[in-house]
């Protein structure tokens, strides 16, 4: 909790807390590795154009002479195509890079939007209580009780697949988790003295929520938002795998896996499953590990961090 920090001289203590956090984070090797991979992935995604220029292959062009056998089978990893080609003779590496863009964009966008909605609703429900809490709380229950995939499939088949719809579906089904956590935290925070003090000084509910309560929620927000990114990525991959996410020929990891699975092409082309599958696995794992590491680092009262602190004290 950073709560004590606001009580005393903020500038100095907050810097100390940041330093402490950073030190704890730097001590977490798995977290650092995850962070390094994520940075690499971001660079890969941002540099998709560079990858394209370097290989000289566009993400959409079908290399029917060099990238496919005369019987339409893909070509394995080699000098011309580092990660091989897919069933349509396109360069897997270039598509992977552009797919990383799609996945990261959707993952980030969806988790930021979801946490914005979750935090707003959690704040309002927790702070006001009463009818607001009943209505918003039951809405969260309702959303959580909807079978996610079934509903997503129905929505997509009605409106047709698109990036915006994918994001909307992911957001709609992931804001509730963070919403509940925030609501719980706010219920306990609003009883605290500093909130009472603010109120007695004449602060309105809006100002109390934003200025007094919100900064105290930074830890769960950061941690949950980070943890939601891999969920978003996997969910997008799931939708695309089912042919309901990103519309081909736009590349996405889930779509690449789906193309590999259709027509049993994976039987002859292992790289179509292994490469996007591995990168998807490592990416989601990295975000999860990073989220864990952030929680440990930001929250000194958490169990793993205390254990480590004890171990490092003597």
């Amino acid at each position: 909790m950073t709560a004590p920090a606001t009580d005393t001289a903020p500038a100095v203590v907050q810097r100390g807390s940041f330093e402490l956090t950073l030190r704890r984070l730097l001590r977490d090797k798995a977290g650092l590795l995850a962070l390094a991979f994520i940075l690499l992935l971001v660079a890969f995604a941002l540099g998709a154009g560079v990858v394209e220029a370097w290989t000289g292959h566009s993400a959409f062009e079908q290399y029917r002479d060099t990238g496919l056998t005369p019987t339409g089978m893909p070509v394995g990893p080699g000098a011309e195509f580092l990660f091989g080609t897919d069933g349509l003779g396109r360069d897997v590496m270039v598509r992977l890079a552009y797919g990383a863009r799609t996945s990261l964009t959707i993952g980030l966008l969806a988790s930021v939007l979801a946490s914005f909605i979750g935090v707003s609703i959690g704040l309002v429900a927790g702070y006001f209580g009463g009818w607001a809490d009943i209505v918003l709380g039951r809405t969260m229950d309702l959303v959580m009780s909807i079978p996610v995939l079934l509903c997503a499939l129905a929505l997509v088949s009605v409106f047709g697949p698109s990036v915006i719809l994918s994001v909307a579906v992911i957001v709609f089904f992931s804001w509730t988790t963070i919403g509940r956590v925030i609501r719980g935290q706010v219920i306990s925070l609003r009883q605290r003295d500093f909130v009472q003090a603010s109120r007695s000084l004449g602060a309105g509910p809006f100002s109390i929520m934003i200025i007094d309560i919100l900064p105290n929620l930074s830890v769960p927000i950061i941690v949950y938002t980070t943890m939601m990114i891999p969920n978003g990525i996997v969910f997008e991959a799931t939708l695309s795998f089912l042919g309901l996410g990103i519309v081909p020929p736009a590349p996405s990891w889930g779509g690449m896996l789906a193309e590999a699975a259709s027509n049993s092409i994976y039987l002859v082309a292992w790289w179509l499953i292994m490469i996007p599958g591995a990168i998807l696995l490592i990416a989601t794992l990295s975000f999860n590990i990073l989220g864990d590491a952030l929680r440990d680092a930001l929250d000194p009262s958490g169990r793993p961090a205390r254990k480590r602190r004890k171990a490092s004290k003597p």
């Binding site: 079908q62 089978m73 088949s157 081909p248 259709s262 049993s264 002859v268």
Partner: protein, 581 residues
């Protein structure tokens, strides 16, 4: 009409089948009787009755339990596969009365497995089959073919349409009314009188829907649970047990006599059709010998490539009547009605890289570029190409020039939904990429398979409202051989009312005139020439862009011998294989 209106219909819809290589030690061994043939499929046999619309896969089931007047031999020989021969009819009669009258003599000893014991199939049973075709409960999808030909059938059906769709009134109507054009002068002779000469009438009689019906079935609704429970077969097999969505087991029909059936040897004792098996699993079971044949699966191209690479001799290829093509929407006002302009459609025809489609489908073993509406093995097919390009790779320059001439020098943006299943997504992207070179920007969108034909494409208002501009489609003729009519009439002719499968009301008076002549003539050679002219006349207007004629790979387990293609079913004939375990 066998459109590809459902996923299953599309799965193995084949017609004229030719073995390109027919291998195996089959011919060396002595045929043996007995054993259970295991057929693996994803869906179950959808219809037991002959009348309601069934998937084309069910044709193989019908072969085992039903006999109709005319059928085809299972054969490795291409010509023999598509030659109509007598099944219940003793032979194939030549028409009399200027091609208007066909008289069939029924084979004696061909029996119903009736509840009261075996009973001879009579001329009246044949007529009863035709009467059931337009029952008001579930009619036959092939009715229009017959209604336009047989004297009095249209009137009979008009009267039947007014009957309440319940067992009693339907039975009463069938018993009280006759089709004037079908005469039964004696128990073993049936005569059909036609309105106009039709040289494909004999082929029409090979459809399951033209099978006879025993008098008992009038007591049940078509294909109802009661019908299924009281199933009366006249083929070599009958139903022993049926577990929905799981297994259908056929056993020998005691009423069937091998000497009365020249087409079916019926070596195996029982046939099990197992449903709910995925394509991959089915292939593995076939390879291990746990399964014998496939029901509705087509072999995934990657598996086929592996089997070819391994030199597996149980693999065989069949030429199918199945074609793939792209329909062009000429009724919408998208892009200012650009696609109504024949030059734009011709530009699309020039631009299409058919070689890429062939490659995508697995190479020349699997498909052949097609330039007309008729596939090889169907009457009217001939080598011609009104929009030629080198190696069938598409002529982007010519296409661009035509497009500019039509007033679109900057290209065109077109919408193309596709069925999101199997190889269709890959094909859609191949088409998109090949048209891009000529300046067409194709916006593709996946559509769930179950919605594609029923909701999107066969719904004419979607065409009028410009929901789609192009659509990749497929077609299989309803019978093998002289099936030009079953390709041309439903898709490329328009008589004022919108036809389900003529997606944008295409009409050519010249083609219609030629087709009418081609169907009427008794001179086989002239008929071929006329159908060829029909093909060219249609292609000049470019209502569709033909892509490829598809060959299908067949595979069977190691125990299966005498695996001979049965053309209408596009599979090895269940009733002629034998097992060596």
């Amino acid at each position: 009409m066998r459109s590809n209106s459902t996923a299953a219909l599309m799965a193995l819809a084949l017609s004229s089948a030719t073995a390109i290589f027919q291998a195996g030690p089959a011919f060396a061994e002595e045929p043996q009787k007995g054993g259970t043939l295991r057929i693996l499929g994803s869906a179950e046999v959808d219809r037991f009755d002959t009348i309601p619309p069934a998937t084309s896969d069910a044709v193989n089931f019908q072969r085992a339990v039903w006999r109709q007047l005319i059928s085809f031999a299972a054969s490795a020989d291409q010509a023999e596969q598509v030659k109509a021969v007598g099944d219940l009819a003793e032979d194939v009669p030549a028409p009399t009365n200027n091609g208007l009258t066909y008289t069939f003599k029924l084979r004696q000893g061909a029996m119903w497995n009736a509840p009261g014991g075996a009973r001879q199939i009579t001329a009246e049973d044949i007529e009863r089959g035709f009467k059931r075709m337009c029952n008001p409960a579930i009619g036959s999808p092939h009715l229009t073919y017959f209604e336009n030909l047989i004297v009095g059938l249209a009137d009979y059906c008009a009267g039947f349409a007014k009957v309440e769709p319940k067992v009693e009134p339907m039975k009463a109507y069938i018993e009280a009314n006759d089709i004037t054009g079908i005469e039964t002068p004696s128990a073993d002779v049936v005569t059909f009188n036609l309105k106009t000469p039709a040289n494909d009438f004999i082929y029409l009689l090979s459809l399951a829907t033209a099978a006879p019906a025993p008098v008992e079935v009038l007591n049940y609704m078509p294909d109802s649970p009661e019908y299924r429970a009281n199933f009366i077969s006249n083929g070599p097999y009958t139903i022993e047990s049926y577990v929905p969505d799981s297994m259908l087991r056929l056993v020998r029909n005691p009423a069937w006599k091998p000497e009365t059936d020249p087409l079916r040897k019926a070596y195996v004792d029982a046939i099990e059709i197992v449903a709910g098996v995925q394509a991959d699993a089915a292939m593995q079971q076939l390879q291990s010998g746990d399964g014998d044949m496939l029901y509705d699966h087509s072999i995934p191209p990657a598996s086929a490539q592996m089997l070819i690479a391994q030199g597996d001799e149980k693999m065989s290829t069949v030429t199918t009547g199945r074609t793939r093509f792209v329909w062009i929407n000429t009724v919408s006002s998208n892009n200012g009605g650009a696609l109504k302009n024949v030059k734009v459609r011709q530009a699309l025809s020039y631009a299409m890289d058919k070689a890429a489609i062939v490659q995508q489908l697995g190479g020349p073993t699997f498909a052949k570029p097609l330039n007309g509406i008729f596939p090889p093995n169907v009457i009217g097919y001939h080598e011609f190409d009104l929009y030629p390009s080198k190696d069938a790779k598409g002529d982007a320059e010519k296409a661009k020039a035509l497009l500019a001439e039509a007033g679109y020098p900057n290209g065109l943006k077109l919408k193309m939904p596709y069925r999101n299943i199997g190889s269709d997504p890959a094909l859609a992207q191949t088409i998109q990429e090949s048209l891009k070179k000529a300046g067409f920007e194709i916006e593709i969108s996946p559509v769930p398979p179950a919605d594609f034909y029923p909701r999107l494409i066969t719904n004419f208002s979607n065409a009028q409202n410009g929901v789609w501009d192009l659509v990749p489609a497929g077609w299989s003729p309803d019978w093998p051989g002289g099936a030009a009519g079953s390709i041309f009439l439903p898709q490329y002719s328009y008589n004022g009312t919108h036809g389900t499968f003529n997606f944008s009301d295409y009409n050519s008076d010249r083609a219609n005139e030629l087709a009418a002549k081609a169907s009427a003539t008794t001179d086989a050679e002239e008929s071929v020439k006329l159908w060829q002219q029909v093909d060219e006349a249609v292609m000049a207007d470019a209502p569709t862009v033909p892509l490829v004629a598809v060959y299908t790979m067949l595979y069977h387990g190691p125990a299966v011998r005498n695996f001979l293609p049965y053309a209408p079913g596009g599979q090895g004939d269940w009733t002629n294989v034998w097992l060596s375990r």
